[in-house]
Symmetry: C2
Subunit: 214 residues, 2 copies
């Protein structure tokens, strides 16, 4: 960008304003999502980010701090994605499908972040976080996930099955996580038709049956 590099045209440092910090974050997400925390040495992150290993410690106290910051950042971004264009006044089914689609899209367009979050949540550290219900509230303390709101509202008006919340979430998110992971590793190709049909099937799983059951 810019060129004349030097001669002051670029106001800050020469090449990377805070570029390096971002490169480190991105490389870490990518590598840890593939090899796991203990499977990715700091040296590997440095090489992938194109910086010296020492530089990483200029920006982060240690490896743990680096990973924790990534989790908080990615987790917040993901939650914001879910709330994007989410309208509480819409019918339960529409809101549900909207959320499903957002999760699908997020996973497909942010595969590394998606796998990173999943790994983190299933790590001992992530489990502790979940148990303590701390999460990252992103400045909206105490607010439930929108999916939980939808289920609560749906149960009241007898649109959603009367199941434990954990089971409903599993029915909604489980298949999506499963499919997206397969898609990320290249085992399948997710086209729009499949995504839509799968979302609809997730709805069938959580909705109250309308016709005869069986």
């Amino acid at each position: 960008m810019n060129v004349h590099s030097k001669t002051q045209a670029a106001p800050r440092q020469q090449i990377d304003p805070t570029d390096k910090r971002d490169r480190i974050l991105q490389a870490t997400i990518r590598l840890i999502s593939e090899y796991g925390f203990h499977g990715t040495p700091v040296s590997m992150i440095a090489k992938d980010a194109g910086v010296g290993t020492g530089t990483i410690y200029r920006y982060f106290k240690d490896k743990d701090a680096l990973v924790l910051e990534i989790f908080q950042q990615v987790n917040c971004a993901f939650k914001k994605t879910l709330l994007h264009e989410y309208v509480v006044s819409q019918p339960i089914r529409d809101r549900f499908l909207h959320l499903c689609r957002d999760i699908f899209q997020y996973g497909i367009h942010n595969p590394y972040e998606f796998k990173f979050i999943e790994q983190f949540y299933n790590s001992p550290y992530g489990t502790t976080l979940r148990r303590e219900k701390l999460f990252c509230n992103c400045g909206d303390p105490g607010q439930d996930l929108p999916l939980e709101q939808v289920f609560a509202a749906g149960k009241e008006q007898n649109t959603i099955k009367d199941l434990p919340l954990a089971a409903l979430i599993a029915l909604a998110i489980g298949p999506i996580v499963f499919l997206v992971k397969d898609s990320i590793v290249g085992l399948i190709q997710l086209d729009d038709a499949t995504i839509n049909a799968t979302m609809a099937a997730c709805w069938d799983a959580v909705k109250v049956e309308t016709g005869t059951s069986k």
Copy 2:
């Protein structure tokens, strides 16, 4: 060799026939399911198994061989569980629910093995295996998973939705894996009622709608 090796009553060695080997396997499953491959040093496995570190290398070439053997063993045992009392002549829905129940039960009763398999499948090595479709065929080469058979049969008779196989599997297994993992880390308590209702909901997801769709 042989010789009546004495009186034959106690055929083999005195105390530990293959006891240690098993203890090593069990410890590895438990620890890796919790801390991951790179997160569990061999020394930790040795201590947990109550053997010297060197002993592990009497039974296994290296750490990789140890883990690979566990995967093959556990994977085969799991598949056998799925085929237990599985009757092809039963209706699609009954076979489906039977398989779902088996997966639930296996996960609840073998939490370490369950998490181990999940981790392995999502590791780079496991992904390669899946892509190569090699798996562990347990002596039944080419035989599909029973779940795949059920879906194939169900599609033919228009009982199961016409979705890609991967999507159907995700709809069936995704929620179960999700719930069992939560149950293993103690976030929820899975009672029979919840299990049954969740299985039924999985069926709703994959079955062809009978009443009006909406």
